[in-house]
């Protein structure tokens, strides 16, 4: 998957979890939770959706790898390549 595809996939999940958030100005290198109104349950929802939709398992120890968009791309890239 390309970087754009991974970001699109993350945004699709966030849009469902937090439908009121504006995703058009999310900076890739700033923690998502500093830019969006996401709490720890929303974060778990992202993990659960990654598993359900894309078969990607993110163990709890790896949660920090999803903190920014850049980190999501780096972490999920190898796991999403088909």
């Amino acid at each position: 998957m390309t970087r754009e595809e991974i970001i699109k996939l993350i945004f699709a999940i966030i849009a469902e979890i937090a439908p009121d958030e504006d995703l058009s100005h999310v900076a890739p290198d700033v923690p998502l939770r500093e830019q969006l109104d996401l709490d720890s349950m929303d974060f778990l929802d992202i993990v659960m959706e990654l598993r359900k939709r894309h078969g990607v398992e993110v163990p709890e120890a790896d949660y920090p790898e999803l903190v920014t968009l850049d980190k999501c791309v780096a972490y999920l890239g190898p796991k999403l390549k088909k």
């Binding site: 979890i17 349950m41 778990l44 929802d45 993990v47």
Partner: protein
């Protein structure tokens, strides 16, 4: 309903955590059996009907706005849309008499204008709360946090702490993060309830579970959780054995370990930890039904009243009741129902009620009812003549209804969370959810904890290590 003899998951107990966990697992395609010992689902999200057309809600006092988000994500839009705000929370005691929505803005205003706290002090405190997370390592107690933030201001400490003591039984000796997380949840837009009452909510949840394929059995008390070679093999209920790969216990944590499983299946170190878990206390309640055709003046949604000179958590739980919270239910809360009910709650201790003779017990319940009505007369003169049903519940009532040790009505203290979470490391496929650790208690806490544990259970079921020797023990 015909039951299969094999499921992916058996959920024991249908408190909000068990219900939400069961729903989540069913949505992921798991075959789920939900067992509830009572005729109604809901656990302590309970209600009951009495002659005269009264419907009483046991624990629907008010929950944070976050419930709206959780219901949308884990239940459905209809349930979400029935959530409405309770905007008038009144606190009356010898130190102050105020009404607030408990939203950040309103509480800030009160602290500055009424309590004359410097704005920067208020701001610093609320920012501090916002930064608190479960993972923030800190040994600070709530008392230390409050004293550091508002030195010497016992009235401010009371304003911030007393409602939380009513809400979850916690005290200033509990970790500051438990206070911070719970209080921040309420500050974020205030206090909410379900329009339609508990019965309506649980009916909607039941429909949703059935739509998602959950098998539900009421009046079914799980007798034993069966373990073979360190892994879940099944459960027994009504003498029948049902095989399953995992159990999600929404029963009391210690009841799960000691009675449902049996301590011989756990490691000594885990049992030590479990042995140190304290309950967060119990409750007394008085249910007052107002005669048909009579009204209750609309003066507050919730009233926290106390005659104690200062905030004193030990005295709040004393048998000689000085402090109560009143929840007022009007036809606004139950559209189509024309009755008013009032539910008074106070914190209570098991030991004060457990050992009374039947005669003493009945007499003490009547005394509690009398004191409660007298207390209410101070705010609503003449209310006594409008009441046509009065009834009390005590820690014994809670123990009988839930099977909780010591009649616990708020779950466990903070240390219970780790014991709850670690149970799956002891026995492959065994998970616990429910009111634990203070932060996972209450309506919002238990719904969210149901999801958190359901996710771990789902990972277990799907994990390639299943069937391996040792399995999850190796973690």
């Amino acid at each position: 309903m015909d039951l299969n003899t094999e499921y992916d998951v058996v959920v024991i107990g249908s408190g909000l955590a068990g219900l939400t966990g069961a729903n989540q697992l069913a949505k992921w395609g798991r075959r789920v059996l939900l067992l509830e010992q009572q005729p109604n689902l809901g656990g302590l999200a309970a209600w009951f009907r009495r002659r005269g057309g009264h419907v009483f809600d046991v624990s629907l006092h008010g929950f944070p706005f976050g419930m709206k988000k959780s219901c949308r994500k884990y239940w459905n839009q209809k349930i979400t849309d029935s959530i409405i705000q309770l905007s008038r929370i009144r606190l009356d005691n010898p130190q102050f008499n105020i009404t607030s929505s408990f939203e950040l803005g309103d509480l800030t205003r009160l602290l500055i204008e009424h309590f004359r706290v410097p704005p920067e002090m208020v701001d610093r405190f609320f920012r501090r709360l916002k930064e608190m997370e479960f993972y923030s390592e800190s040994s600070q107690t709530t008392r230390e946090l409050l004293e550091e933030s508002f030195p010497g201001r016992s009235d401010v400490h009371r304003l911030l702490m007393e409602p939380i003591t009513y809400a979850n039984g916690s005290t200033p000796e509990d970790p500051a993060i438990t206070f911070g997380i719970v209080f921040s949840n309420f500050l974020n837009r205030g206090v909410y309830t379900f329009q339609g009452g508990t019965d309506n909510l649980v009916r909607e949840m039941r429909l949703e579970l059935e739509n998602n394929g959950v098998h539900i059995r009421n009046r079914a008390r799980a007798e034993k959780i069966l373990v073979k070679q360190g892994k879940i093999a099944g459960i027994t209920v009504g003498g029948q054995e049902i095989r399953c790969r995992a159990v999600l216990s929404n029963a009391n944590l210690l009841h799960t370990i000691l009675n449902l499983v049996g301590k011989e299946y756990f490691s000594p170190s885990y049992l030590d930890l479990a042995g140190s878990v304290r309950m967060s206390g119990s409750s007394c309640q008085v249910y007052l039904g107002i005669r048909e055709g009579e009204e209750v003046p609309d003066f507050a949604d919730l009233l926290f009243t106390s005659t104690l000179p200062h905030y004193d958590p030990a005295a709040l739980s004393a048998k000689e009741v000085t402090s109560q919270s009143f929840s007022f239910y009007s036809p606004k809360i139950r559209p189509g129902h024309n009755r008013y009910t009032i539910v008074a709650s106070s914190n209570a201790r098991w030991d004060d009620w457990a050992h009374l003779s039947d005669e003493e017990y009945q007499a003490d319940k009547q005394r509690l009812i009398g004191k409660t009505i007298a207390n209410l007369e101070r705010y609503l003169p003449g209310i006594t003549d409008k009441i046509d049903h009065r009834e009390a519940a005590t820690p014994r009532t809670f123990a009988r209804y839930t099977g909780h040790l010591l009649g616990a009505s708020f779950g466990t203290k903070f240390e219970g969370l780790k014991v709850s979470q670690d149970i799956s490391r002891e026995i492959g496929g065994l998970f616990h959810t429910g009111s634990v650790g203070i932060i996972m208690s209450g309506w919002l806490g238990t719904v969210n904890y149901g999801v958190i544990v359901a996710h771990s259970l789902e990972v277990f079921l799907g994990s390639p290590s299943r069937g391996d020797q040792g399995g999850i023990h190796e973690i």
